[in-house]
């Protein structure tokens, strides 16, 4: 064996060692380094926003896309929408779902009480160029000081976007989040959504979460065996006044 391949192998080994060392020093890369990350333990609730968010700051939906969605009947035209899995298009849930952030080496997992599951890889990997679109997309993150910056692509192009009357987010959407504590009980997430099929410009929003005192998740699901508010066949709204079978009798007159 000549000296040249040996030198190349040595250089490669050295680069791998340096790279591994550098990665091991990345915040959150090892169990020990998790302690250096900010304390996001517990559950977080979106500060009151709800419909006001869209009223006060309507997203820049392409007018022709919005008009077509409204002409098609809006979100109620889809009878299955109540029973779909969580789809990430920039919000980690609404004001009804508590959210949690789980730190493990090389990864942050974001869940909520409605079944959201986002795996954010913080181990330095790039986003795969040809990943299959999924309901929560493909996310990579990096710690910028005490802030977590997350890039998400490969989103389900049929996932609906807020204020769009059910219009889908479309292909090639990219979402950037910057998450950071503003104080011990307040987590801010600045979101930028780029969706060339749907939006005329990037949609930028700030969402503020408050640390909840709760320690146990309570499931919320819109997909149940029996829903008094939704007709299962058509998906249309209703108010079913059929009394429960075990309704106690009225008090004596």
């Amino acid at each position: 064996m000549s000296a040249r391949p040996l030198r190349a192998a040595s250089i490669a080994a050295a680069l791998i060692a340096v790279s591994a060392t550098a990665y091991s020093q990345t915040p959150g890369a090892t169990h020990a380094s998790l302690d250096a990350l900010p304390n996001w333990q517990g559950w977080w609730g979106l500060r009151e926003a709800g419909p006001d968010e869209v009223r006060q700051q309507p997203p820049p939906i392409k007018p022709e896309v919005l008009a077509a969605a409204q002409a098609a009947g809006g979100t109620d035209a889809d009878p299955l929408r109540y029973c779909r899995p969580m789809q990430f298009t920039g919000a980690n849930g609404g004001f009804t779902e508590g959210v949690e952030f789980l730190f493990t080496p090389g990864r942050v997992t974001i869940t909520n009480e409605r079944g959201l599951l986002r795996r954010v890889y913080t181990d330095g990997r790039p986003i795969p160029a040809a990943a299959i679109p999924t309901n929560t997309g493909t996310s990579v993150g990096r710690w910028d000081g005490q802030a977590l910056v997350v890039e998400t692509t490969n989103l389900n192009p049929l996932a609906t976007y807020l204020g769009s009357a059910g219009a889908p987010i479309g292909a090639n959407a990219r979402i950037t989040e910057r998450m950071f504590l503003t104080d011990d009980g307040t987590l801010q997430i600045d979101v930028e959504v780029v969706a060339p099929d749907l939006l005329t410009a990037p949609d930028r929003r700030t969402r503020v979460y408050t640390r909840l005192p709760k320690t146990v998740a309570t499931e919320i699901t819109f997909c149940t065996e029996y829903d008094r508010s939704i007709e299962p066949g058509s998906g249309q709204q209703r108010f079913d006044l059929t009394p429960p079978a075990d309704l106690p009798p009225p008090p004596p007159r």
Binding site: E53, V54, Y82, E113, L162, G163, A165, S229, P250, R253
Partner: protein, 146 residues
């Protein structure tokens, strides 16, 4: 006993579809967001279920052969109500209450729960309701004790 309270307040039509930030289960279009109504009666049952909790309620009505009307009130989801101090046993069967609610537009006996007052004068507020988010009912005055 039904007390009409034409308590007008601003209700902005949604008309914007389902906001991802809100991730609402359904709109409140079936309820009359322009007025609230108060009834006095006794609790029949709490249905502590997803996605909405329902409160079944007997309201005396001498004009009916049965002597009562059965009402149903939609409320928020168990997880949000838990955060607001509710549980599956918040009301006992037979407990006397005054309940203020947004009535169904179709005139049937029911609507969306807003706030209830117990015989001891304490009140408990709903989660959700026409016009807004989790604490929209806080704009509604609690009824007098039954």
């Amino acid at each position: 006993m039904v007390i009409r309270q034409l308590r007008r307040f601003v209700v902005l039509a949604l008309g914007l579809g389902c906001a991802a930030g809100a991730s609402a289960h359904h709109s409140y279009a079936m309820f009359d967001g322009k007025q609230t109504v108060t009834v006095i009666g006794t609790v029949a049952k709490i249905e502590w279920t997803n996605p909405h909790v329902f409160i079944w309620f007997y309201v005396p009505n001498a004009a009916r052969e049965s002597g009562y009307d059965l009402y149903a009130f939609e409320n928020g989801s168990p997880n949000v109500l838990t955060r607001r101090g509710w549980s599956a046993t918040t009301f006992a069967t037979g407990e006397k209450l005054a309940i203020t609610y947004w009535p169904l537009l179709d005139g049937r006996s029911g609507g969306h729960f807003a706030v209830a007052t117990r015989a001891d004068g304490t009140s408990i507020y709903a989660a959700g309701g026409p016009g807004g988010g989790v604490d929209v009912s806080s704009a509604i005055a609690a009824p007098p004790r039954p």
